[in-house]
């Protein structure tokens, strides 16, 4: 059983890698741009699901990290001339991480409704700052940026073309996503799961559960921040959308559509959301209305999300009766 799952994991990994590398040769630029956007949002959704699915924490403020990443990268690129690509990314990630630490220290004692409301309040605060601090954030006008080139000693890589930026996104976010998956199997990842199962007992086993929650919160903020940084670099523009409560709702919807019960669920959710949005907005101006209807249908009739649906179909095909599938717990 374990052998087979390792083999299938390897097969999937190879498939994704080959497809990811070869796709730019096969699809049009426009499709490639959509794919880049999907990868970025997939990371955002994965980070959100570490809170919602793995830790059982419902946040309405995940865009504060996404937006902080997006704004910081735009600000540092505009204000620090000759800042390198990775310099800008690392600097912005540091700022997002510190933001996570500060916000998280106010939230670490809370769960459930108080946690959800506090994250909402913090997101509103961040949004207000982005709108009002015009001299730095550009207010409603947003900030335009140029993507810096990547300098690797002997050569200069241009990031301006769509395929080039796609490859950079695919490699960096792909690696980070791989680490996020590994994280769910590490001691810290398992501590998060155990806390969701029985937080009281965890305290009596010597775990400081507030510290655990803070660490997780900072980590998910870091991941969301990276997604936000790439979002800004991709569009070469940061606007208040990136830090709005709408953005927090979008990631919540992606995760719900994909399903909170597995690691890949949010990735599927991000794919479906971005493609639907692209497809529907081509046909009609009233696309948000249709998407709204689809989401209501999903939540009512497919509560475990698309990944839950896929898993139960596979299990049914294999003739098994255990349809319920929780977030996996590694052996």
């Amino acid at each position: 059983m374990k052998q087979r799952s390792h083999a299938s994991l390897l097969a999937w990994g190879t498939l994704i890698l080959v497809a990811g590398v070869l796709l730019p040769l096969a699809v049009r630029q426009y499709q490639l741009a959509i794919l880049t956007e999907i990868i970025i949002f997939a990371l955002f959704a994965v980070s959100y699901n570490l809170l919602l699915g793995y830790a059982g924490l419902l946040s309405f403020g995940h865009a504060m990290f996404f937006g902080t990443g997006a704004y910081t990268v735009a600000i540092v690129i505009n204000h620090i001339p000759s800042l390198s690509f990775f310099g800008a990314v690392i600097l912005s990630l540091s700022v997002t991480t510190i933001t996570g630490l500060v916000v998280g220290s106010f939230l670490l004692r809370h769960k459930g409704t108080p946690f959800a409301l506090l994250t909402l309040a913090f997101n509103a605060l961040f949004y207000a700052i982005a709108t009002k601090w015009h001299s730095i954030t550009g207010g409603d006008d947003g900030l335009s940026i140029f993507r810096p080139d990547i300098n690797i000693g002997f050569a200069q890589l241009s990031t301006s073309s769509i395929p080039a930026f796609y490859y950079i996104t695919f490699i960096i976010i792909g690696l980070v996503m791989l680490f996020s998956w590994y994280f769910t199997r590490t001691a810290m990842g398992q501590t998060v799961l155990l806390m969701r199962e029985n937080e009281e007992r965890m305290k009596f086993l010597g775990y400081n559960t507030n510290v655990s929650r803070l660490i997780l919160f900072v980590f998910t903020g870091f991941l969301a921040g990276l997604a936000g940084i790439f979002y800004a670099l991709f569009f070469q523009f940061t606007s208040i959308t990136a830090i709005s409560i709408d953005m927090s709702t979008i990631v919540l919807l992606m995760v719900i559509i994909g399903g909170t019960g597995s690691f890949v669920g949010p990735i599927i959710g991000a794919c479906v959301y971005i493609y639907l949005q692209d497809f529907l907005s081509d046909i009609t101006d009233r696309w948000p209305f249709i998407m709204g209807l689809i989401f209501i249908f999903m939540i009512l009739y497919v509560p475990k999300g698309l990944s839950g649906l896929i898993y139960s179909l596979i299990e049914r095909l294999r003739g098994r009766r255990h349809l319920s599938r929780k977030v996996e717990i590694a052996e």
Partner: protein, 252 residues
């Protein structure tokens, strides 16, 4: 008053919950390696006393001295790391995890695997070895891959004890470990408890008098929120006040 071999002293502990006085001046001592039973009628405050010693509640007043240090009001995780561990009257484990993972959760905590971002829980041989040892000790080695919720009641209670032992405590508090067991299961459980708490200090809350008298060196009777008497099982058995307080209420 402090004798060198007292591992725990409970000094004049009071606890009230918004006016309801549950503990009204509890005093007792536990020597190192002692098997100490706390008995008393329902509602006497036994579990509240455990909750205070293990850090779940703060005492309203009074103090808890563990190894010469005042630990009253410290958090459970701090006390666990000081090697105090407790079990729960109602099984309180990780129901969706298997037996091995339940026990390993406690073992790995003390081996740098609390918040590790790179190592997996099973990556340290020492942790796996200790986990196996505990499982063998409580007799759950055969079912280590079974989910906790799929265990029989007796096995669940054994797992509760295994999880309590997983932090390698020096002071073990067991809250009615045999609650709800049949006679036969109780007998087995007592043998097991006796074995696993060898060379450790044990405080046990128990209703079953057979258990108390076969296991304990010292018995304290908690009645109406304070200790009526502490003494050897013999003394307790023959004490008139205990008969009045205890048997008077439950022995009808």
């Amino acid at each position: 008053m402090q004798e060198p071999n007292d591992i725990l002293q409970v000094r004049n502990v009071y606890k009230d919950f918004s006016g309801l006085k549950v503990l009204t001046g509890v005093d007792f001592k536990v020597k190192e390696n002692e098997k100490h039973a706390v008995i008393g009628p329902n509602g006497a405050g036994k579990t509240t006393l455990f909750n205070i010693i293990s850090g779940k509640y703060k005492p309203s007043s009074g103090s808890i001295i563990f190894k010469g240090e005042d630990i009253s009001g410290r958090s459970p995780h701090v006390l666990t790391r000081m090697k105090v561990s407790r079990s729960f009257q109602i099984t309180n484990v990780f129901q969706e995890l298997n037996v091995l993972e339940n026990v390993r959760a406690g073992v790995r905590c003390d081996h740098g695997l609390r918040y590790h971002f790179l190592k997996t829980p099973g990556s340290i041989a020492e942790v796996n070895k200790k986990t196996e040892e505990i499982l063998t000790l409580v007799g759950l080695a055969e079912v280590k891959q079974t989910l906790a919720r799929e265990l029989s009641y007796g096995q669940q209670r054994a797992l509760e004890i295994a999880v309590t032992l997983s932090t390698e405590p020096e002071l073990i508090l067991l809250d009615e470990p045999t609650a709800g067991m049949t006679r036969e299961e109780t007998g087995e459980a007592i043998k097991m408890i006796d074995k696993v708490t060898a060379s450790k200090t044990l405080i046990i809350i128990e209703h079953d008098m057979d258990v108390v008298f076969s296991l304990a060196d010292t018995v304290s009777v908690l009645h109406n929120g304070s200790i009526l008497i502490s003494g050897s099982p013999e003394q307790i058995r023959n004490d008139q006040r205990v008969k009045d307080a205890y048997l008077g209420e439950e022995g009808d």
